[in-house]
């Protein structure tokens, strides 16, 4: 028998690097139905699909891919929805190479099936064509649930519980819903319209949305119970910026990635002065850190007109935590990488503005607690880099605003909320938590997975008791 011709992984069309690095439109432009079907044909429909083990929410990957192969895109999206309420988001931002695609059997010898691209394709197809029927809502239970925070975790809980017949209100501190999906991840990677359309879908199902509600300030958890809520889910994310604590860090021109990205994305500073919020547009920009947040910052800087955009990271290329696609995109767009480099000091002028950064070269020593080789400074390797904007993207911590104003909520030593791994139950009666405020900064899909588990547990609590 002749060997079946091998179909290569279907490319995702993209804006050319020199074009896209000057606009805020999405980088990958999306696949055609024909390419999607061809890509779907690459899937072997494994009896024991290991790809599913790699997906934190267990999407039926061969199931939806076989529907794509048959051109049944509407049925395919319904299949994905069974496990994942935000496929247009996950298809774009999941670190697939570590999750579903990282396990795919085809990937052992060739390139893995492009599961993320296919998920994105069916979600976008549905958003354009609106053919799938809205999921059925169970009969009203008369129970009320407050969901605090409208990031991926809170949105998942709200979507699950409204379908189970409960009344759900989402409380969001910002003036717009979506969490990191809206204030953090830039337009060129995740168009905001997608997030708002997901939220609009929830509102159509009956979820109430209260923006500008800072729980812990505007209203406390105990007051929510007094107002008649039967259960509360906390999904407030890890919104506390970390700084480097080195000299000169309060100079003008040094921003946390949270501030830089919030100004640019949520407040739309990239459309200033049409929008009123400004952001510092550096000529020579340095981003400290090498996660997704750092890639987003360094690439935003280019789009805002930077001549140079550099990533400075203390560890080596092997330890870069960002999604592979983002590192690749950043390099294509001209972001320069300085590995094994540690900032030691910021330099400024008499107006208090940043003019440069001093750093040290590092070498890799013995592995540390995390199993990664610890970088140690090389003596006498000091050097200086000129810059007028530095973005600090070295991670986030737990924002204490809500937790400190709430009695009876147990925290761990890093001030994240302690919650049961399987159910999301906290030490406070009637309160669940999940997402980044429990795990520390993680991923969209893990935050959604935690939301799903908590929603199931909340439903049990409300219908059959603990």
């Amino acid at each position: 028998m002749a060997k079946k011709e091998l179909i290569p992984r279907q490319p995702m069309p993209e804006q050319a690097p020199e074009v896209r690095s000057k606009n805020f439109e999405e980088v990958p432009t999306g696949q055609s139905p024909e390419t999607a079907i061809r890509e779907a044909e690459r899937c072997l429909q494994c009896k024991k699909p290991v790809c599913v083990d790699g997906c934190p929410v267990g999407v039926d990957i061969p199931g939806f891919i076989s529907l794509v192969k048959e051109g049944k895109f509407t049925a395919a999206i319904s299949k994905v929805w069974e496990k994942n309420g935000l496929p247009a988001v996950c298809g774009r931002v999941c670190p697939q190479e570590l999750q579903c695609e990282g396990k795919c059997i085809v990937g052992k010898k060739n390139e893995p099936v492009a599961i993320g691209n296919l998920e994105r394709f069916v979600a976008d197809y549905e958003r354009m064509n609106k053919k799938a029927s809205l999921p059925e809502k169970a009969a009203p239970t008369g129970k009320k649930i407050a969901v605090v925070g409208s990031g991926p975790s809170g949105l998942t809980v709200a979507g699950d519980l409204i379908l189970k017949g409960h009344e759900v209100t989402l409380f969001e501190a910002f003036h717009k819903p979506g969490g990191v999906l809206v204030y953090g991840i830039p337009e060129f990677r995740l168009p905001k319209e997608i997030v708002f359309s997901e939220v609009a879908g929830l509102e159509k199902l009956g979820v109430k949305l209260e923006c500008n509600a800072v729980v812990g300030r505007t209203i406390s958890l105990d007051e929510l119970f007094e107002e008649g809520y039967d259960a509360i889910y906390i999904g407030v994310g890890a919104g506390l910026p970390r700084f480097l604590n080195i000299p000169g860090e309060n100079l003008i021109g040094i921003l946390s990635a949270n501030e830089y990205l919030t100004r640019s994305n949520l407040m739309k500073a990239y459309r200033y002065p049409e929008y009123d919020t400004p952001v510092i547009k550096g000529k020579n920009v340095i981003t400290l850190g090498a996660g997704n947040v750092a890639m987003d910052s360094a690439r935003t800087a280019l789009r805002l007109g930077a001549e140079t955009s550099r990533i400075v990271y203390r560890r080596s290329r092997d330890e870069v935590p960002a999604r592979a696609a983002e590192v690749h995109h950043a390099e294509e767009e001209g972001v320069e990488f300085f590995f094994l480099t540690n900032p030691t000091k910021f330099l400024g002028n008499e107006k208090g503005r940043l003019t440069g950064m001093e750093g040290l070269k590092m070498e890799l020593g013995e592995p540390d607690d995390s199993g990664r080789r610890r970088p140690i400074p090389i003596e006498g390797s000091e050097f200086e880099l000129e810059c007028d904007l530095a973005i600090i993207a070295v991670g986030a911590g737990a924002n204490p605003l809500l937790t400190q104003s709430t009695e009876g909520l147990k925290l761990n030593k890093w001030e994240y909320i302690e919650a049961d791994e399987k159910t999301g139950k906290t030490s406070k009666k009637g309160v669940w938590a999940g997402g980044d405020i429990v795990t520390g900064s993680a991923t969209v899909i893990l935050a959604m997975g935690a939301g799903r588990q908590a929603a199931d547990s909340i439903h049990d609590y409300l219908t059959i008791g603990w």
Binding site: V214, R217, T218, N245, I252, R263, G352
Partner: protein
């Protein structure tokens, strides 16, 4: 929308008062706390202190000086119109405690920020001397309200057109020399607060100031509002806005407030040109 139910122009139209319907916030607000307001879809998030609140009526009052595009946009809002977004109450409330003799010093629109704090300090039983000032008589605000909130009100103008001729700090020095002062609260432009703290330090009197760095979220999430207090970086929106004035690095704050000067000037001029057309 958060509706404006009353509006007043003070200090020759350079300072505006808005009483706004915001029952949830009014119910919870305490002296010293602030809100963040956004006029419309394209607007900036602007922090303003609540000069007053009325929990029964469900309203809060802000008093602001028109200094740039956003405050000019606020000025143009009429009664019946409103703000798209208001977030609060934010910041730590003033620590209200009976300490004895308190001097409250306010300059410019700082007086609006000082008012609820002064009233709160009086309500817990302190003996309040209040000193307020402005460049000239017509720019003075809230004289009657400050009189009611204190036991002894002294007024100064830089040009001598009303009250004492000179700076609030001159009068404050005289009061400190009389002795017996346990606490000073100084709120106004950064140079004024710096000057107040320099003098009170000489007299070794504890001094509280309210800082106004540039803010975005107001919930401790961006770090844009960082100030150096006692050699440590603090976030004014959650750790403040009130701090021990003797520990504050005012020079750094003054510089950081200039971060967007060029953009602000451009926005304001464009806005004024548009309005003129």
């Amino acid at each position: 929308m958060f509706k404006i139910i009353a509006r007043e122009e003070m200090a020759e139209g350079t300072v505006i008062l808005n009483e706004i319907d915001a029952p949830l916030i009014a119910r919870k607000a305490k002296p010293g706390q602030f809100v963040i307001l956004k006029a419309n879809e394209t607007g900036e998030r602007i922090p303003l202190t609540m000069a007053d609140t009325n929990p029964e009526k469900g309203t809060l009052t802000v008093i602001y000086m028109v200094v740039g595009k956003s405050t000019a946009l606020f000025r143009d809002l009429k009664v019946g119109e409103g703000y798209q977004d208001i977030i609060g109450p934010l910041g730590a409330a003033t620590h209200l405690e009976k300490v004895g003799k308190v001097v409250c010093v306010g300059g410019g629109t700082g007086v609006a920020v000082l008012h609820p704090i002064t009233r709160g300090l009086k309500e817990v039983g302190n003996d309040i001397t209040c000193i307020i000032g402005s460049r000239t008589k017509d720019l003075l605000i809230m004289e009657d309200l400050m009189k009611a909130a204190s036991h002894d009100l002294r007024v100064c103008t830089d040009d001598g057109s009303y009250g004492h001729h000179g700076f609030v700090t001159d009068v404050m020095k005289e009061v400190l020399e009389e002795g017996g002062v346990n606490l000073v609260v100084g709120i106004g432009p950064v140079p004024m607060m710096k000057a107040v703290c320099k003098i009170t330090k000489e007299f070794n009197v504890k001094t509280v100031v309210s800082l106004n760095p540039i803010m975005v979220d107001g919930t401790g999430m961006c770090g844009g509002c960082r100030v150096t207090v006692g050699g440590k970086t603090r976030f004014a929106c959650v750790d403040g806005p009130e701090f021990d004035g003797h520990e504050v690095d005012f020079d750094e704050l003054m510089l950081r407030l200039q971060a967007y000067t060029e953009e602000e000037k451009k926005s304001y001029n464009e806005h004024c040109n548009l309005v003129k057309q």
